[in-house]
């Protein structure tokens, strides 16, 4: 009967389950547990928003988009003096970097299973480079590091490192993939970008503050380019978002006027969306941040404050909808501090078969 169906058959069924249903399927019986553990999700479900308090190292808030519930996970192994950079979303991993003036040390953490691993040292140690991620397929990802500062061997004086390095999750090694024009190394270091977006063969980074601008590395032609961001010097917050394989930017002024632009074939920006005025009015005040993933964007402040999400509609594939979600100010009846947070998106990966660890 259902207890002992062939494993690949059950895994096929489980590949359609959202994370909480998969977690429950794992508890029904041994056979289902083992099959669920080796399931690869089809990722048909909306991504989860993850909120990491900037001052509480071991806490991780996650929002289940289907049940619209908040949960608190404990992160056991994350060392002090690290900060989340971005996620490797399809693998369900958070990418952390070391802070301070030490050479960059990256590590990955799966918040749902508490698995943690340092990446090996860079080929060319450097401080403050740009960090990017490309996921080719469910079983592999690459991390890119560009620019940064290094100590010159002879004089001991610091200089900008004009190289791009790549980490391959399969070989678990860094390789230097090429050099870069020194001015891009300088900009990527001085302006410390946030998450990268990979679109149409180009790896993009956006500066983390006004005046926003974007730098991109074309993988096939090995060329760097710079793009201006629409309203780049007036936006108070902005983030890049991958949208159906294209590059988009969401940004706003005064929390009320939020626009989304998409980069066209000719590297020109077109406005494709505007946040509804009623939502904008409720969102005023305080400093807003935003983060995006293929299929969704979240505008947020601190953990207890209301957030605004713009997301692919589950029922109509080509429609996107605006939602507001309540912030989280209590867990299991216990009131919580209104933590400032770094927001990220990922797809929970409950399978132990993730090859990286």
């Amino acid at each position: 009967m259902w207890n002992n169906l062939p494993s690949d058959l059950l895994s096929n069924v489980f590949s359609y389950l959202p994370p909480h249903s998969l977690a429950r399927a794992m508890v029904t019986c041994r056979h289902w547990h083992d099959c669920a553990r080796s399931t690869t999700s089809r990722h048909q479900h909306p991504p989860w928003f993850v909120a990491l308090p900037t001052r509480a190292r071991n806490l991780c808030f996650v929002h289940n988009p289907i049940e619209s519930t908040w949960h608190l996970l404990g992160l056991k192994h994350v060392p002090s003096l690290t900060r989340p950079v971005s996620t490797i979303p399809g693998h369900g991993l958070i990418l952390f970097k070391s802070t301070g003036s030490v050479p960059l040390q990256l590590s990955v953490c799966d918040p749902f299973t508490s698995r943690f691993r340092h990446l090996p040292q860079l080929r060319k140690p450097r401080t403050n480079p740009a960090v990017g991620v490309i996921e080719d397929c469910p079983s592999q990802f690459n991390v890119y590091v560009a620019g940064g500062m290094c100590k010159a061997a002879s004089s001991g004086a610091a200089s900008y490192e004009p190289t791009l390095e790549m980490f391959d999750s399969r070989s678990k090694n860094w390789t230097i993939t090429g050099s870069m024009p020194i001015e891009f190394a300088v900009r990527l270091t001085v302006w410390t970008p946030n998450e990268s977006v990979y679109s149409r063969g180009v790896l993009y980074w956006m500066t983390s503050a006004r005046a926003y601008s974007i730098m991109g590395f074309d993988m096939s032609s090995n060329k760097w380019k710079e793009l201006s961001v629409p309203m780049g010097d007036t936006l108070e917050f902005a983030a890049m978002v991958p949208r159906d394989g294209k590059l988009a930017v969401i940004g706003g002024t005064h929390g009320v006027n939020v626009l989304v632009w998409e980069l066209g074939e000719d590297d020109k920006w077109n406005v494709i969306e505007r946040m509804p005025v009623e939502l904008g009015k409720r969102f005023v005040g305080g400093s807003t941040k935003c983060v995006g993933i293929e299929g969704g964007v979240c505008l947020y402040k601190e953990i207890a404050k209301e957030m605004v999400v713009w997301r692919k509609d589950r029922n109509h594939k080509n429609k996107w909808e605006w939602y507001s979600i309540e912030g989280c100010n209590q867990i299991s009846g216990k009131r919580l501090e209104n933590y400032p947070i770094k927001g990220l998106f990922l797809h929970p990966n409950l399978a132990c078969s993730s090859s990286f660890f």
Partner: protein, 146 residues
């Protein structure tokens, strides 16, 4: 269970230029009829029609076939007993598209239910000890909070 002989298969009516030897791609049995005992004639008809249309070289016909099948499954609220039979046969006949449609339906019956409910519906016997089950629930407490 008799082996299905590929060269004796039901002809692929969607392609008027079928060669006498099956092309390597056709061996994945998209076009092989899947006779399913113990399900109503209506479901058998729907399955046969799906297999026929899904073998078409026209992508729109294939997409329509998949949508029709999904709609039928939802409308008729195909139940557990029938599903068990269908997925087993689709699996044995290695018809991936047929299998996916019905696996998704099985997943729909699991979604959002509590563990006890899932066990009941699927007639699953819990072979964990209470300690083991407790430890598993502790691995992902967020999934069991209600």
């Amino acid at each position: 269970m008799a082996e299905v002989n590929e060269t004796d298969q039901t002809p692929n009516l969607g392609d008027s230029t079928t060669p006498s030897q099956p092309k390597p791609e056709q061996i994945t049995t998209t076009n092989v009829a899947v006779p399913i005992p113990d399900v109503g004639p209506q479901l058998q008809v729907v399955v046969d029609e799906f297999i026929l249309k899904n073998g078409s070289s026209d992508e729109e016909v294939r997409t329509a076939a998949r949508n029709d099948l999904r709609d039928f499954i939802e409308r008729e609220e195909i139940g557990i007993t029938t599903l068990l039979v269908v997925v087993k046969y689709a699996h044995e006949f290695k018809n991936a598209d047929l299998l996916d449609a019905f696996c998704e339906r099985v997943a729909d019956l699991i979604k959002d239910k509590k563990v006890v409910g899932v066990r009941e519906i699927f007639g699953i016997v819990n072979d964990f000890t209470p300690e083991e089950e407790h430890a598993l629930r502790d691995e992902h407490p967020w999934a069991f909070e209600d």
